[in-house]
C-alpha cells in the first residue's frame, strides 16, 4: 500500500511538473509571440510609411525644381535678384549660367524638404542634381530630364530595425521653361531685336525729319538768324516725343501672348550737322553790282524799261539805265538731323502651364506661371551709353 501511495504521489508530482512546464512554455511562447506580433506590426507600418515617402519623393523633387525655377526665372537666371545683370548692355552680353544656378537651388530645396522635423526617423544624404538636355536633329529641344542622386540610400530608423531604400530618381522637366531661356537668348542676346525696332523707328522719323534745306541769299545772311532747332520744330513739332512714342510702339511689336515688354527708361536725343553749299551769282538773289549807263530821257524809268534795261535811277537830274553785272551768291544750308534712342526694357517671358510655387511677395503658394524676367539695355548706337 505504501508503495502504491508513493507511486501515485510521484506520478502526480511528475504530472504537475509536466502540466506546469507545458503552461510555462505556452505562456512564455505567447509572450514572445505577442512581442513578435507587435514588432511585426511596427515593421509593417514602418514599411508603409516608407512606401508613402517613396511615392512622394518625385513630388518633392518636382516641387523643389518648380520653386527653384520660379526663383531663378524671376532673377533672370541668376542666383538671386541682387546679383541680377541686364542680359545685354549695348554690345556687352551677360547670359547667366542658369542651369548651374537651377541645379544648386533645386538641391537646396530638396535638402530643405528632407531636413524637415516631420521626417525625424528618416536619414537622407546630400542630394546631387543633374539636368540633361536632348535635342532633335533640327537642334530643337526635345526633352529635359533631371537626375536626382544621393550618395547613400535613405534610411528609416525604427526602434529595433532600419529600412534602407534608394531615393534616386529621374524626372522629366517641362521643356517650355528651358524654351524661355532659348527664346530670350536668341531674341535679345544673340540678336538685338530691341535695337532693330529702335532702328526701324529712327529710320521712319529720319525719312520725314532727317534733313532740312534752307536757302538764303548772301545779302540776307546778316539780317537772318537761322536756328536749326526752330526749323526742325517747324517741320516736325516735338520730334523727340514723337520718336519716343514711335519707338515704344515699335518695341511693343515684339510682344506675344507669353512675352511682355515694359520700357523702364527711354532716352531720345538728336544731333544736327550743317552743310553749306554756295551757288555763285544767283539770279534769285538781288543784284550786287549794276552796270549804269547815263541816257537822255524825260521819263527815265519808262525809257529804261522800254529799252530793255533792268534798272533805272536819276541822279543829279541825270537818268541812268542799267543791267546787273553780278548777282549776290545763294547759300544753301543743309541741316542733317541724326536721331538716337536708348532704352532699358524689362522682358517678361512666361510659360503656358501653371505650377505650384510660393511667391514671397504675395506670401502664399498657388498655381502660377513660371516667368523669366531680365533687362535689356540697348540703343541704335552702341557707342552712346546714356543708361
Amino acid at each position: 500500500m505504501k508503495g502504491i501511495f508513493v507511486g501515485t504521489v510521484l506520478l502526480l508530482a511528475i504530472l504537475a511538473l509536466v502540466i506546469s512546464g507545458a503552461f510555462f512554455v505556452v505562456l512564455s511562447s505567447e509572450y514572445i509571440n505577442l512581442k513578435i506580433s507587435l514588432k511585426a506590426s511596427e515593421i509593417l507600418i514602418a514599411s508603409d510609411v516608407v512606401e508613402a515617402v517613396k511615392i512622394g519623393l518625385e513630388k518633392a523633387y518636382n516641387y523643389s525644381f518648380f520653386q527653384a525655377a520660379y526663383d531663378i526665372g524671376k532673377a533672370g537666371g541668376y542666383e538671386n535678384e541682387l546679383l541680377m545683370l541686364p542680359w545685354r548692355m549695348y554690345s556687352d552680353k551677360n547670359f547667366p549660367d542658369y542651369v548651374e544656378n537651377l541645379k544648386k537651388k533645386t538641391e537646396n530645396y530638396i535638402h530643405e524638404y528632407f531636413s524637415n522635423p516631420e521626417l525625424e526617423k528618416f536619414e537622407f544624404s546630400e542630394p546631387n542634381v543633374e539636368i540633361e538636355f536632348s535635342h532633335d536633329e533640327g537642334g530643337n529641344l526635345r526633352s529635359v530630364i533631371m537626375l536626382v542622386n544621393f550618395g547613400q540610400p535613405f534610411k528609416y530608423h525604427g526602434n529595433f530595425f532600419t529600412i534602407y531604400e534608394t531615393p534616386n530618381r529621374t524626372l522629366f522637366l517641362p521643356t517650355e521653361y528651358f524654351g524661355m531661356y532659348d527664346y530670350g537668348f536668341e531674341k535679345f542676346v544673340n540678336k538685338d531685336s530691341i535695337r532693330e525696332k529702335i532702328e526701324e523707328a529712327v529710320e521712319k522719323i529720319t525719312t520725314n525729319c532727317g534733313e532740312i534745306l534752307v536757302e538764303i541769299c548772301e545779302n540776307e545772311i546778316s539780317q537772318t538768324k537761322i536756328d536749326p532747332e526752330e526749323k526742325l520744330n517747324e517741320k516736325c513739332p516735338n520730334v523727340d516725343n514723337v520718336l519716343e512714342s514711335m519707338t515704344i510702339d515699335k518695341i511693343k511689336e515684339l510682344e506675344t501672348s507669353n512675352v511682355m515688354l515694359s520700357i523702364e527708361e527711354i532716352i531720345v536725343k538728336h544731333e544736327v550737322k550743317e552743310e553749306y553749299n554756295i551757288i555763285k551769282d544767283n539770279a534769285d538773289c538781288g543784284c550786287e553790282i549794276i552796270d549804269w549807263l547815263p541816257v537822255e530821257a524825260t521819263a527815265c524809268a519808262d525809257f529804261c524799261e522800254s529799252n530793255g534795261y533792268e534798272y533805272s535811277k536819276v541822279e543829279d537830274s541825270q537818268c541812268y539805265c542799267g543791267n546787273c553785272q553780278k548777282h549776290y551768291d545763294k547759300h544753301i544750308i543743309k541741316y542733317e538731323y541724326s536721331y538716337f534712342v536708348a532704352a532699358n526694357v524689362r522682358v517678361n517671358i512666361t510659360t503656358e502651364g501653371l505650377y505650384p510655387v510660393y511667391d514671397p511677395l504675395e506670401g502664399n503658394t498657388n498655381l502660377r506661371k513660371l516667368a523669366l524676367i531680365f533687362n535689356v539695355i540697348t540703343s541704335n548706337d552702341y557707342s552712346w551709353n546714356p543708361l
Binding site: 505556452v26 508603409d48 510609411v49 508613402a52 524638404y113 516631420e118 521626417l119 510660393y358
Partner: protein, 152 residues
Amino acid sequence: MKGQLAFFDIGVISIALVIFVLISLFFLENFHIYTKTINIQIVYDSNEAYRFLVSLLSLKHISNSVYEILSYTSFEPPSDSSIEFINSSLYYYFEKAPKCYKLSLGSKVITEFKDSSYSGNCRDTRFKAVAPIFVPYNKVSLIEKIYLNYER
C-alpha cells in the same frame, strides 16, 4: 489479489492522467492557436489602414495623382470629381460600407462619412493610419500629415 488491484488502480489512474495531460496539452495548443490568430489579426488590422492609405496615394485621377490632389489641398481644394474618386476608391478598399471614415490633411478634413448608427467623431478609431506627404513649397510647412481613420 491485493497486488493485482493496486496495479489496476495505478493503470486506471495513469490512463486518466495521460488523457488529462493530452486534453490539457490540446487545450493549451488551442489556446496558443487562438492567441496566435488574434495576434495576426491585430497585426493585419493595424496595417490595413496603412495599406489603404498607401494604395490611395499611388492612384491617379485624370491628369493628377491622388498624392498631388491631396498635397495641393492647402491652396486648392479638391474638385468634386476628385472627392468622388477618393470616396469610391475608399469604398472599394472597405468592400462594405464602414461605420465611419475620415480622410484629413493635418486638421483639414478632405472627406468623411458617418453611418447613422455611429455617434463618434471618427477620430480615435480602431483602424487608423498616418503618413507624411510632401506639399508644394511654402514658408510654413513643407510636409503635412495625411490621416485615414475608419471604423468597421
